[in-house]
């Protein structure tokens, strides 16, 4: 049988534009589709580029902390922690233990809040409108605590090079203990509602698969990488602050699909809550700021520090020239690197899957564009 000339088709370019309910911020995805199948995806970023790195060169170290708050505006305290540790390394000071415990408690609570936001928005991307309400209710509790401790619900500007800005209030420990119980119940509610729901499983299992070596080559990190079976967690592999003194588990997935990435974040919520409990048991009395010179005029040099953000491995490369302003601050945003894997994950899936895959990467555009 002779092969007939194929019907001439043109691939359609479907634009999921910067304004779209499902793209988690100003992110533009151009999908090259053939009917319902995606052939290629071309991401366009840069809509939220604010020049953070360049601004950091003309601001003092204390002011740069506020810039870092806004890089990943959902996990603020984790960003602050990364930069503040870089500053401490280059100034060769160490924060006192109490300050480290406070930092880790707040950072882990912020991780839970960030994952709750992820669960809610991922569910609503896929059409389930209830987990977002439950998730945000728990986030409110956590943000109330942050307001009590740091003075702000979101852009905290709380950590300093050498410690934290001010000590926690007296009712901090009982408040946090009660908070952990309430948040844990909320997370369980979202878990029971969503994780083994038939329709949810059908939307996320086997969708957006990326295997371990490709993921590592693309530079993925965090739950997106651990979903593919690579047990890389900065808290475990390159411990910092008081993480060596905590018992915790790092869940690792096997299949590298959307459900794995989602469920690992769910498990991490539970782990973070138990870490906070351990910190509350161990937190010592003491100073919350390193003694000595407070003016941030570090010696000249370069330092690279990375920490585990909810989204992955946030790296800060700090170049100092000896003045009170950094010479170069480079932020390694986990979402930026995770997006490199988007094309590999999305090729060959349906249009509706593109939304599910993008959601499962849990990107924050403030971080991607800086």
């Amino acid at each position: 049988m002779t092969t007939e000339p194929q019907l001439e088709t043109v691939d359609m370019m479907l634009n999921m534009g910067p304004q779209h309910p499902a793209t988690h911020g100003v992110f533009r995805m151009v999908l090259k589709v053939d009917g319902e199948r995606v052939i290629d995806v071309i991401p366009h970023i840069g809509y939220l580029h604010r020049g953070t790195e360049r601004l950091a060169e003309v601001e003092t170290y204390g002011q740069v902390i506020t810039l870092f708050d806004r890089v990943d505006y959902i996990a603020n305290l984790n960003n602050e922690l990364a930069f503040v540790r870089a500053g401490e390394q280059i100034m060769e000071v160490e924060a006192p233990e109490r300050a480290q415990y406070i930092r880790v408690i707040l950072a882990e609570l912020n991780r839970v809040a960030s994952h709750l936001l992820f669960i809610g928005t991922y569910a609503i991307d896929l059409g389930a409108m209830t987990p977002v309400m439950y998730g945000f209710r728990e986030r409110e509790r956590i943000q109330n605590l942050f307001e009590h401790v740091t003075g702000a619900r979101m852009m905290h500007n709380y950590m300093r090079i050498g410690g934290v800005k001010s000590d926690v209030p007296d009712d901090f420990v009982p408040w946090v203990r009660q908070l952990i119980g309430e948040v844990r119940k909320g997370v369980e509610e979202c878990d029971k509602l969503l994780s083994t729901n038939e329709v949810f499983l059908g939307r996320t299992r086997g969708v957006g698969v990326i295997d371990g070596p490709t993921a590592v080559s693309c530079g993925l990190s965090g739950p997106s990488l651990r979903g593919s079976g690579v047990p890389y967690d900065v808290r475990k592999d390159d411990p910092y602050e008081i993480y060596p003194y905590l018992n915790y588990k790092v869940p690792v997935g096997e299949n590298g699909d959307c459900w794995d990435r989602y469920y690992l974040r769910m498990l991490e919520c539970y782990e973070s809550l138990s870490m906070v409990e351990q910190c509350l048991d161990q937190i010592p009395e003491g100073p919350i700021m390193a003694a000595g010179r407070r003016i941030a005029r570090p010696p000249a040099g370069e330092v690279f520090v990375h920490s585990e953000n909810p989204r992955g491995d946030l790296g800060v490369y700090l170049v100092s020239d000896g003045t009170d302003k950094p010479y170069r601050v480079k932020i390694r945003p986990p979402s930026f690197c995770n997006l490199v894997g988007l094309a590999t994950m999305t090729r060959g899936s349906y249009i509706a899957d593109a939304v599910a895959i993008l959601g499962s990467l849990d990107i924050v555009l403030g971080e991607v564009d800086r």
């Binding site: 280059i90 010179r293 003016i295 005029r297 330092v303 490369y317 390694r332």
Partner: protein, 189 residues
């Protein structure tokens, strides 16, 4: 010298704030940090030295991360040796460019998920028409890093298939990451 907060320093009169590239007019002389490697860093430095051999022009390191400076032309070969050799650097963790006004320094932070070691490769590029071979054939993460560096610093990466602007838009003139880019006098309209 009074002890001030980093915040209070911000509130100091504006006259005291010098632009970043000039040395501070007040305060103690600039101290250069001594770069000391800890034990793990020494091991990694030894591995790095044996992997790179003569390619490393100089090297040092801080804490557990050694760095080695190579010539710009040799960077691709050096990175390939780091990836394929005993170091097994399978992840390009970070790539950045630092604008020291007379030259642009490219810094590559490599990480090995199997050995859990970090190493840094540095290469110096001339300030006019900086160009270095692309590493996209070694790590896919390099694609976006190189596009971003090209946008912000004007570094060319022959070998990268897609150099369209990533963070900036088509038609943007200038490279904002460079120190010579006017930060305050910038006018768009």
């Amino acid at each position: 010298m009074t002890e001030q907060d980093p915040q209070a320093a911000a509130e100091a009169p504006k006259a005291a704030e010098a632009p970043a590239e000039k040395p501070a007019r007040h305060g103690p002389p600039i101290v250069v940090a001594e770069e000391v490697l800890n034990e793990r860093g020494e091991q990694t430095a030894a591995q790095l030295a044996s992997t790179l051999g003569t390619l490393a022009l100089d090297s040092a390191g801080r804490q557990d991360t050694p760095w080695a400076r190579v010539a710009a032309k040799e960077l691709h070969a050096a990175a390939k040796k780091c990836r394929d050799g005993e170091m097994g650097m399978d992840m390009l963790n970070l790539m950045l460019a630092v604008d020291w006004v007379d030259r642009i320094q490219m810094i590559y932070v490599l990480y090995s998920t199997t050995n859990n070691r970090k190493a840094i490769l540095k290469a110096d590029l001339p300030a006019e028409s900086p160009s270095i071979d692309s590493l996209t054939d070694l790590w896919e993460a390099a694609t976006w890093y190189e596009r971003e560096t090209h946008d912000l610093f004007g570094v060319d990466f022959p070998g990268n298939a897609d150099m369209s602007p990533l963070l900036l838009y088509e038609g943007f003139e200038g490279h904002p990451g460079l120190k010579s880019y006017p930060l305050n006098d910038y006018e768009e309209w």
